[in-house]
Point group: C2
Chain length 208, copies 2
DNA sequence: GGTCATTGGATACCTCTACTGTCTAACATG
DNA sequence: CATGTTAGACAGTAGAGGTATCCAATGACC
């Protein structure tokens, strides 16, 4: 298909598609001639993925590029390396290498017995957030964190279960990405509702 | 204290503080004269909160204003109403009122037996995300969602436990906000690490 | 073969957000 | 009185995420 059809099917304007091509989010089509390139279903799929990451999840274009790059690199290898590349999500400002928080996180991971790469960006992200909370007078010690971590373990089991039985490595990698990244807003929404429910239960917001 | 001291203590430049004052994120100090206003510890605390919300969590200035507004309104009343106001987080684009997804979410909430306000924005947020995932060929049916929801219940219990024993209503509301909003990146980081760990466990990324 | 809309590629432009800089008159402080 | 700080107003800036326009080269239809 040509770019105009790609635009029609995806609902993304031609100029925006060109922009994504320029920015390296979308691979170029097969060049047929100087004025024609051929796009296919992969491009359409990729385009939908881009819109989901930038729109629903709110990732920046540059982060999206990194994420998609990781997807291409680690196909077949999936979660392990995907997780490694994905931490770059979130708007964590360059902080002064909070080594206190980092040590705290490393200790936590060890206590949990988790097999997590040393350079996993999630470690940094966690240290960062905990540091901020501490600065605001909400110190979360290990005792408070471990129960959350155990729940995260259960979540991860559910996540990986979703990926069972997918054979095509490309499909697998993409599905893993979607579950890791796009499910986040959904889980947070569930948490919000669960909080409201729990709050009602405790403080007698009794049902009529 | 004067604005320059507020700036020094918070690490935020005077001009930026003025910007936050203009934008209504920070309440004005007590006006002493035409050229002097008096700020106190509350302002400092608020300023740190603003930086945490915009920096760590990546909220926009306008969303931060809404969140802080909700904080002021619902002090003492906390989670119930806080949750109601907080859904406006996340970059959910104006979608075509996905009524399919909405019905799905309402059904889920009913099955769970949750006491959640009809107009809770988290309902919309969830419907939105599930719609996107469906559009990308990852339909999550109720059977897949309920286990996640049960985990969210446990998370909410932990969250509310953290708020136990706080008497000052202002303190309580602020703490609730921090736990709801700022803990999100931390929980997601834990999930990422748990995924990596689980992936290693399943696919034999054996420890040396 | 002629005609005309479409395409790829390049570049300029636009809008929004989150600040930042500068100016001024009115003070505060020594 | 001299000096420095402050509130308040307003213009300017940098980056992100597109959008618009132009152009020459086509390709499809007649």
């Amino acid at each position: 298909m040509r770019i105009s059809e790609l635009s029609r099917l995806s609902g993304v304007s031609v100029t925006t598609i060109k922009y994504y091509l320029r920015e390296g989010l979308l691979p170029a089509g097969r060049q047929r001639s100087a004025t024609q390139a051929e796009y296919d279903g992969h491009h359409l799929r990729r385009l939908r993925l881009i819109r989901a990451l930038t729109g629903v999840r709110g990732l920046s274009v540059s982060t999206t590029r990194e994420v998609l790059g990781a997807l291409a690199e680690h196909t077949g290898d999936t979660h392990r390396l995907l997780g490694l590349a994905l931490g770059s999500i979130g708007p964590f400002e360059d902080s002064a290498e909070d080594s206190t928080g980092r040590a705290e996180v490393d200790g936590l991971v060890e206590e949990l017995g988790w097999d997590v790469h040393d350079s996993a960006p999630a470690r940094v992200a966690l240290a960062e957030t905990l540091g901020s909370l501490r600065g605001l007078g909400v110190p979360l010690d290990r005792g408070a964190l471990v129960p959350y971590a155990r729940l995260a373990e259960h979540t991860a089991v559910l996540d990986l279960d979703q990926l069972d039985g997918i054979d095509d490595p490309l499909e697998l990698a993409e599905r893993a990405l979607l579950l890791t990244v796009l499910l986040e807003p959904a889980l947070m929404a569930l948490r919000r509702m669960a909080q409201e429910n729990e709050s009602a239960r405790r403080h007698g917001g009794g049902r009529p």
